[in-house]
């Protein structure tokens, strides 16, 4: 079997563009899904029935649907539902954010629930409001505690961005597959794609380990 690795170098510029878009998708999704997850968790724990059941429905819906189905649905439903036209990239970010927010919501809920009641009571005893207590005392501790889980969600998200290639978003997977289709260099392109994902993913995983050590809460 003959390999022609030059196909990778000849298409380096589009692969770089695809990689950039992959990073952009993952970062933007996380930037939306972290506050989204916190909001879902606070709604769930608010004690206000309408808020907590809305949050629960959202989480259980998007956590239990295949991501690819959410992506397709967003692609076909979003323009009809809103009457606006969305770029494939925007659609992709919406779909990914719905999915990851749902996961983050559960993560933050577990994190907040793990902070013992005495911490809130100490804050209340100073005269803090519920919101001040959440913002200053509970959330900072909860976020540190769930960092490992958020990190593994991030690593999954980074790879799952490849699923939005089904709606022709020109990220790394879509770009690689297109070059493959044009050149018939299947193994070369799959290898190049694997190498790029791995080389980007591995340092992130290491970085995450470092963050965990750096910001660990000692009690």
């Amino acid at each position: 079997m003959n390999f022609d690795w030059s196909v990778v170098w000849r298409n380096a510029d589009v692969l770089v563009e695809g990689t950039e878009l992959t990073i952009l998708l993952a970062v933007t999704t996380m930037v939306i899904a972290i506050p989204g997850g916190i909001l879902l968790a606070l709604m769930r724990l608010s004690g206000v029935r309408a808020l907590s059941s809305t949050s629960a429905c959202f989480v259980e819906l998007f956590r239990n649907l295949p991501l690819i189905l959410v992506i397709y649905t967003a692609y076909y439903v979003l323009p009809v539902a809103t009457g606006l036209s969305f770029s494939p990239i925007t659609t992709a970010i919406v779909a990914l954010s719905l999915n990851v927010s749902a996961y983050n919501g559960e993560t933050f809920r577990a994190g907040i629930a793990s902070i013992r009641q005495g911490q809130s009571e100490a804050a209340y005893a100073l005269g803090m409001t519920r919101w001040q207590t959440t913002r200053e005392i509970v959330l900072p501790q909860a976020v540190r505690r769930v960092l490992p889980v958020l990190a593994s969600t991030w690593v999954s998200l980074f790879k799952d961005t490849s699923l939005v290639s089904v709606i022709s978003v020109g990220e790394l997977a879509y770009t690689s597959m297109r070059i493959r289709a044009q050149t018939y260099r299947v193994l070369e392109m799959l290898t190049a794609m694997a190498a790029i994902y791995w080389l980007l993913g591995y340092p992130q995983a290491k970085l995450v380990d470092w963050i965990n050590r750096r910001y660990a809460v000692n009690e």
């Binding site: 005495g118 009571e121 005893a125 100073l126 803090m128 409001t129 000692n218 009690e219």
Partner: protein, 264 residues
């Protein structure tokens, strides 16, 4: 009311008598489901007085303390602070809480903040002081409890006694009228209990009004101005420490004290 009789019987008048009490409890009741934690407690706390709540565990001492600053809302009776009835709602109690400091058995310092951060957070968020003002106040309070050199330490880097002293500084930084201590030395190693009790003693000498739930009978005997003995949610006896420790009139008080090995 036994409080009044006891004062009248005693040769030296009770501290702060004549002035209206800082805290007045009248028939206070609190239950958790079917469990009655506090059943009809009436007592008062005068200005500058150290009132020690003693009694077997589960007797309702801590619950009564937590009702005082509204961490538990009472089910019946009333509590008045400076002659004003405490509100029965969360937001009203939140305002009242700013005027009472509380120290917990397990310290409950905020682990993600330094000693300075722990002490300055209340003045910053609740009193809306600037960071500089709040930190200046926090430094003064940490100095007061003898921890000026630990301002940058995190709770995990401090001993139990040091943590509890930071917790006292945190409460004092709000400049409270009353300090509530919920078994402040029960979670401490024996060798660090003394440093916390010393800080509390100094505070008492400065005239701070304090309610102390404690098992430290020596502290209650020598620092307390008034001792309240509780059992099964009710006050069984109260009076000046000499009376309670040297000639308790109630059988159950005698049992409780002898159980602790108190010889009078």
């Amino acid at each position: 009311m036994s409080a009044i009789t006891a004062t009248e019987e005693n040769a030296t008048p009770r501290k702060g008598s004549g002035a209206p009490p800082v805290l007045l409890y009248r028939d206070v009741r609190k239950h958790f489901g079917a469990f009655i934690a506090v059943s009809g407690v009436s007592m008062e706390v005068r200005k500058g007085e150290v009132v020690c709540l003693i009694g077997p565990s589960g007797s309702g001492k801590s619950t009564l303390l937590r009702c005082t600053n509204g961490l538990e809302l009472i089910d019946g009776g009333e509590i008045a602070l400076d002659g004003e009835l405490l509100p029965r709602n969360w937001e009203g109690m939140r305002r009242v809480r700013q005027r009472m400091g509380m120290v917990f058995q397990n310290f409950e310092l905020f682990p993600h903040k330094t000693a300075l951060g722990n002490v300055s957070i209340g003045p910053m968020t609740v009193l809306r002081l600037s960071r500089a003002e709040a930190e200046q106040r926090a430094k003064a309070m940490l100095d007061k409890v003898g921890l000026a050199d630990k301002i940058a330490s995190y709770p995990a880097q401090l001993s139990g006694g040091q943590q509890q002293r930071v917790a006292i500084a945190r409460a004092l930084a709000m400049e409270p009228e009353v300090m509530l201590f919920d078994e402040p030395t029960s979670a401490l190693d024996p060798e660090t209990i003394g440093e916390v009790l010393n800080v509390m003693k100094r505070l008492a000498e400065e005239g701070m009004t304090m309610i102390v739930v404690t098992h430290e009978m020596t502290f209650a005997r020598h620092v307390g101005d008034w001792v309240v003995v509780m059992d099964r949610g009710a006050i069984i006896e109260q009076g000046p420490p000499e009376q309670i420790f040297d000639s308790p009139t109630v059988e159950r008080t005698r049992d409780f004290l002898s159980h602790l090995g108190w010889s009078g």
